[in-house]
């Protein structure tokens, strides 16, 4: 049970993130929902990389045959960087839209139709 705690957290975070993205109308809050979803994925990747009794893959510390593969950490780091770029782009879109439309409510950002 305790072993599964990180994965249960992933499911809960995913659910919170999805509800936020689907139910909120404020663009900033939608972005926060996306960020929560990203955190869920990052937690998922990091938890996959955990091995009980494993040694961190630092060459000077670990015996050379017992290290944990550092791949999930590398993936998570990449994913965090991509997440930052995503947030920056969506926030800049929100700024421009607020300037042009005077609102960040997605129900009012609907001039493209048909």
């Amino acid at each position: 049970m305790l072993w599964n705690l990180p994965f249960i957290t992933v499911v809960v975070l995913t659910f919170i993130g999805l509800v936020t993205v689907l139910m909120k109308r404020n663009l900033i809050k939608i972005l926060l929902g996306i960020n929560i979803l990203e955190s869920a994925v990052n937690l998922f990747l990091v938890s996959l990389g955990y091995r009980a009794g494993g040694v961190a893959p630092i060459f000077t510390l670990a015996p050379s045959d017992l290290m944990v593969l550092p791949t999930p950490q590398a993936l998570t780091l990449t994913s965090i960087v991509i997440g930052v770029a995503t947030s920056a782009l969506v926030l800049s879109f929100a700024m421009v839209l607020h300037k042009k439309y005077g609102t960040v409510d997605i129900n009012e950002i609907r001039r493209l139709q048909g």
Binding site: V21, L27, I30, I34, L37, E38, V41, F44, L45, L48, L69, T71, P72, L75, T78, S79, I82, A85, T86, L89, V90, F93, V96, L97, K99, K100, Y101, I109, R110, R111, L112, G114
Partner: protein, 525 residues
């Protein structure tokens, strides 16, 4: 080692490295002068295209090329001390990838040529070209990589660059709205893909596509991962019912970019095919998954074309047709997938259906790119995109009109243009699978023709309108860009058989042959 050898061996890396490097240097070069920037951008694109052709030639003459980053030899996928696991990032370019590389190279060169004059009136073009080159990087990376996490990274590069470039001309906020819609959907899709990658890694300790494919067990978790990947990639390629971003993004992006966004969508389509054919292949229930893809295709065809007919905005209309045409590719390849496990049916019509679908990817990129570029030329000259305000432009824009006719007849599948060549293959083979599907496909083609006849009539026919009496023909670089695509549309329509034999059939066979893909990376069969 001579310079030529160096290029040939490192072609897969250069394919991504050249546009990436050029993109980030572009703003600095732009400080010198406009001409220097144009030369820099065009030079980088031509160089990338040349590398892509060299690479494709190598692949089609001597088989799949693999490139291992950071290894002592470029083709050393599995180092001796790694215990049989490919630990490095590997690019795997099989004939299907090479086929997509060719599409991207041709579309990139002609679209960039066109941009040089269509965007010349606008300011701050350094960022525009930088984003464009990043899109090129993203597409080449997606279609060349043999590593699923790498695929995700290039997909995100492509999404970020595309969203930025769609929003580039803010256009009173409308372009930003379109980009926002596209980008939020893309991000959600990317998160799903990352979840799927985590599932594979947790089960198989591998990120290399060949390695995962070899170890594939098709457990419950793999089914979930399959659903995530298919949903995300079908959304990225604009299949109904996840097509909402397509008309907005395609119509609000600058015309030249739209022509390339079509290629970007097809890179996602390539990803979808790669997942179902190379990652899973016969381990999944081919009939069910095949039918899911067929139904996505049929829905895209029908909904796309019916939504296109009432549109008044010329680019929005063409965007709905792009959705509709994507349906043909899904239909053709879906039929190929549905009969994949059955050798008799596969050789009877499965391969023809797949070849038709894959050939249609190429043809679609060419004629749809051409149509978007003609629409861009019209908008560039008269400044409106509303069909009701256009008319009589055939008097002044003769070459644009001829290019439009070529594109419109090709999309409707009229012989002897390339759209007919691939659609005929799809009709024939799908008819043997299920006659109703083939009939739907033909009806959609007729509706497409009807819709384009309407556009042609309202844009080019009729008397000269007084407000457009002074309209001139599109500038020469734009005509050259359109001319390249139009020439390919005609050439491939007149001589489809050599193209099918040389490019399309190897691509279809490479896609269906999972064992060959695995063997090319991991060695042994």
């Amino acid at each position: 080692m001579t310079f030529a050898d160096f290029i040939v061996i490192n072609a897969p890396a250069l394919l991504v490295a050249i546009p990436l490097f050029a993109a980030f240097i572009c703003p600095a070069v732009g400080r010198i002068s406009t001409t220097a920037r144009n030369v820099w951008v065009m030079g980088a694109m031509l160089l990338t295209a040349a590398v892509a052709f060299i690479l494709a030639f190598t692949v089609f003459t001597s088989g799949t090329v693999i490139y291992v980053f950071g290894a002592s030899a470029a083709n050393l996928a599995v180092p001796l001390d790694s215990g049989g696991i490919p630990i490095r990032i590997i690019f795997t370019i099989d004939p299907m990838s090479a086929f997509m590389d060719i599409i991207c190279a041709i579309a990139g060169v002609s679209v960039l040529m066109y941009s040089l004059s269509s965007e010349s009136k606008n300011t701050s073009l350094e960022g525009y070209y930088a984003l464009f080159l990043l899109m090129i990087t993203g597409v080449f990376g997606m279609v060349s990589t043999g590593d699923i996490f790498n695929f995700f990274v290039f997909l995100e590069i492509l999404s970020l660059a595309s969203a930025g470039i769609i929003a580039y001309r803010i256009d009173g906020g409308l372009a930003v709205e379109a980009a926002l819609k596209y980008f939020i959907l893309s991000t959600l899709g990317a998160i799903l893909i990352l979840f799927a990658i985590g599932i594979y890694y947790g089960q198989y300790n591998a990120l290399n596509i060949a390695m995962i494919a070899q170890r594939m067990q098709f457990t419950l978790l793999d089914r979930i991962a399959l659903v995530f990947l298919v949903a995300a990639l079908a959304m990225k390629c604009g299949a109904v019912p996840m097509h909402f971003w397509t008309p907005d993004a395609y119509s609000m992006a600058p015309a030249s970019v739209t022509a390339f966004l079509v290629v970007a969508s097809q890179a996602a389509l390539y990803g979808l095919f790669r997942v179902v054919f190379t990652l899973y292949n016969v381990t999944l229930n081919c009939l069910v998954v095949g039918w899911i893809i067929i139904i996505l295709g049929i829905l895209s065809m029908v909904v796309g074309v019916t939504m296109a007919i009432p549109q008044k905005d010329i680019k929005r209309l063409m965007a709905y047709h792009a959705v509709s045409q994507t349906g043909y590719m899904l239909l053709g390849v879906g039929v190929g997938l549905a009969v994949l496990g059955n050798a008799a049916l596969t050789s009877a019509f499965g391969f023809t259906a797949m070849e038709g679908g894959i050939f249609h990817i190429f043809n679609h990129a060419m004629y749809k790119g051409l149509l978007f570029l003609t629409a861009g030329a019209i908008i560039y000259r008269i400044g409106t995109r509303d069909l009701n305000k256009m008319g009589g432009l055939g008097h002044n824009m003769k070459y644009t009109m001829i290019f439009f006719i070529i594109g419109a007849l090709a999309i409707a599948g009229i012989p002897p243009l390339n759209g007919f060549a691939s659609k005929l293959m799809i009709y024939e083979s799908v008819y043997l699978f299920n006659p109703i599907l083939a009939i739907i496909a033909m009806v959609v083609s007729i509706l497409t023709l009807a819709s384009f006849v309407k556009v042609f009539h309202s844009v080019f026919m009729g008397p000269k309108l007084p407000e457009y009496a002074e309209v001139k023909e599109a500038p020469l670089p734009m005509l050259i860009g359109m001319g390249i695509l139009a020439a390919i549309v005609i050439l491939f329509g007149l001589f489809p058989q050599p193209v099918v034999d040389m490019l399309v059939a190897p691509a279809a066979h490479a896609l269906a042959d999972q064992g060959g893909y695995i063997a090319s990376v991991l060695g042994g069969a």
